[in-house]
Structure formats: C-alpha cells, structure tokens
Subunit: 208 residues, 2 copies
C-alpha cells in the first residue's frame, strides 16, 4: 500500500493501533465501576475535545448535564429503568446527553453568516429545528463517547430511562430535551459481557 493509506501501511500517522483499540476495537460498554472519582477537570476535558466535531452549519446543539453529587443522583434514580439503577448509582458520573431545541439563540456566535436566515426559518418550522437538533446531537453523542474513551474513561451509554421524566426533573421550563445517558468512570476489569456481533461490510455497506 502507498503512503496515501497510512492505516494499512502503519506509518506516518498520528493515530496508533493502540489508540484505535482504545477508542473503538478494545472499548466496551461498562456496567460495574471502581470506587474512583472523575474530577470536574476531566469532565471539562471531554467537552473541550468533543466540541470540535462537525455539526450541520456548526449548530452544536448537544448539551451535557453531569450528574455527580448524591443529591443529583437521587433525582435521577427513580427515572431510570430498573436494570440501569445499580450501575448508574455506583458510577462516579452520569452524563445526561441532551439537545437544545432553541439552538437558534446561539447562531450569532456559532454561525454568524447563516444566523439571521436560519433563525427565521427555524422560528416558522419547529419540526425542522427538532430534526436538525437531534441529527447533530447524535453525531455529538458519538464524539462524546470517543472523547471520553480517548481520555482514559470507560463509558456506559444507556437509553433505558424515562425521557419525559428527566426533562421534567432536569430541564423544566427550558427548550432542552434529554437524548441518552452515559455513565462515566473506570470499569471493573472482567465485568463486561461477551462482545456482541456486528454486521459485516457487505451487510451494512455498498461501494457504488
């Protein structure tokens, strides 16, 4: 292979095989956590990395509320599906990954050239705002998980919770809506489930 394809050639490239293991191949969803805290500085470092990932017109609609204190955990606990409670209550931090339906108010900062025109369109079309917010927040959710892993954390993303309940409890009176949850911390070695299968290239992809 030529140097045009650094992965295959294993040279001249900043992302090592070990790094690819850390962010993709060796990473696993964790459900048991060591009793080891995650500092505010490290939570900030995750955001500081993932915020550079691309979104449509740079709208970056994702919002991250980190549940760390015992008081905040107590508010979250009853809103979790039964089988997510133990793992979440014992995690050092849980991110509520959410999106801001009123991301239009940030556009003068984020996308000054498009702000006026796009804000006017969004004001008339809440379904467009919802579609844009969820699509880009999904991408940002992916960046978030990769960034956390890259910084040495294990992740435990979860969809089993009462979304409307979380919105009432944490985002009442705001245009912010919860999307998924992600436990963060240092997993207990040997506690992961057997690796689930993935689709082969030919099952998920086509080259046209």
């Amino acid at each position: 292979m030529s140097s045009a394809e650094p992965y295959l050639a294993q040279d001249d490239h900043a992302v090592s095989d070990a790094a690819l293991d850390t962010i993709f191949r060796g990473a696993r969803t964790l459900r048991q956590w060591q009793d080891k805290p995650v500092s505010s500085a490290l939570l900030m470092a995750i955001y500081d990395l993932m915020r550079w990932g691309p979104t449509e017109t740079n709208i970056t609609p994702a919002r991250f509320h980190f549940v760390v204190s015992q008081e905040a955990k107590a508010r979250l606990e009853p809103l979790l599906d039964e089988d997510n409670r133990k793992q979440t209550m014992s995690a050092p931090a849980t991110a509520i990954v959410a999106y801001d339906l009123n991301f239009a108010h940030t556009l003068t900062k984020l996308a000054p050239r498009s702000a006026e025109r796009l804000s006017a369109r969004l004001a008339k079309d809440p379904e467009k705002a919802r579609f844009m917010a969820t699509r880009s927040a999904g991408l940002q959710g992916g960046y978030f998980i990769v960034a956390a892993r890259a910084l040495g954390l294990d992740c435990g993303p979860m969809s089993g919770f009462d979304r409307e309940g979380v919105d009432r409890e944490f985002f009442a009176g705001t245009p912010i809506k919860s999307y998924f949850l992600c436990n963060l911390g240092y997993g207990v070695e040997g506690s992961v489930r057997p690796r689930a299968a993935r689709l082969g290239f030919d099952e998920a992809c086509k080259i046209l």
Copy 2:
C-alpha cells in the same frame, strides 16, 4: 493530577496528543480535494473500525453507501444543493450515511437475547423504530467521521441535499433512509475556512 487522569497527566495512555489533534482539535471540514483516490480497502477499514462503537441494544442501524464511480456520481449530482456540487463531484468518494428502518431483521444476529421481544414491539410502533434508528445512526455517524480521520482521511460532511430524492434514487423499495452525506479524501492544504466558534463549557454543560 493523579494517574487516574491520564489526559491531564500525559502519561500511561494510548491516545497521544497528536492523535487527539488528528481526530478532534486539528481536524477540519474540507471542501477542496486533491486528485488522489481512496481505495475500497480503506473504505472497508473505516467501517471495520467504526462498527464497534456502541448503539442502543447493539442495533447498529447505520448503512453506508459509498459513491465512487463516475456513474454513481452522476446519479447523485442533481440531488445536491448547488453549493455542494463542485466539492462533491471532485471528491474521490462520498458516503451516503443512511439508516435502516427495518433494523429489526438483523436482531437475531446483533442482539439475540432481545430480538424476539424488541422485534414484536417495533412491528407495532414504527415511530419507535424511527426514533431508535435515527438516534443510534447519529452516534454511528459520529464514529464514522472520527474513524475516517483516524485513518488519515479528511471529511466533508454535508446536509445540503434532497433527502427524499436520494432515497428514491438510491434506496427505492427498501426501508433505508438517507441521513447525511460525507465527502472523503485528501483535502487541499490551505483551503479550509476560518475555524468557527464553539460554545464554552458553561454555555453547553453543567455539573450537578
């Protein structure tokens, strides 16, 4: 900082600062491409990496159709917004990132323990299937962009195209729906726009 926080301590960690630049901090959306092809092997390597990223109940609904041949490009061209045409026609490859609304048919392989129960629920609730498919395909779109960058490629993600037109042209008679496009290749140095701003931690996050 203790060794619990490898990013801040800069030691004992597989993901180097240079790698973080490659996948996040230094990466930019490209719109001008070198005349340098991207091989099928490299497209397969992107999928081979990103497919390990987590999704809800391991449903992995994202589908990737890579537009590479002149024939396929000619089918895509009229469906692009005017200002995305030149950059897309000159890119060596364009991924149509899509999702399979009928991901239920893959669950016996991907999530055997949940397959029967979840398939029955999805059959009765197409809106749940759509929500699950788009949320997880969004995460997978994020993994895809990170994986392509990690393998040395530049990305040019785009939302400016006729989604229904692409679905008719490329996915007629299937439950697959387009979500966004992503040009792939080697960008022309010095061709990127000035870096757009991002929200600060306090504007997008809270620690509770």
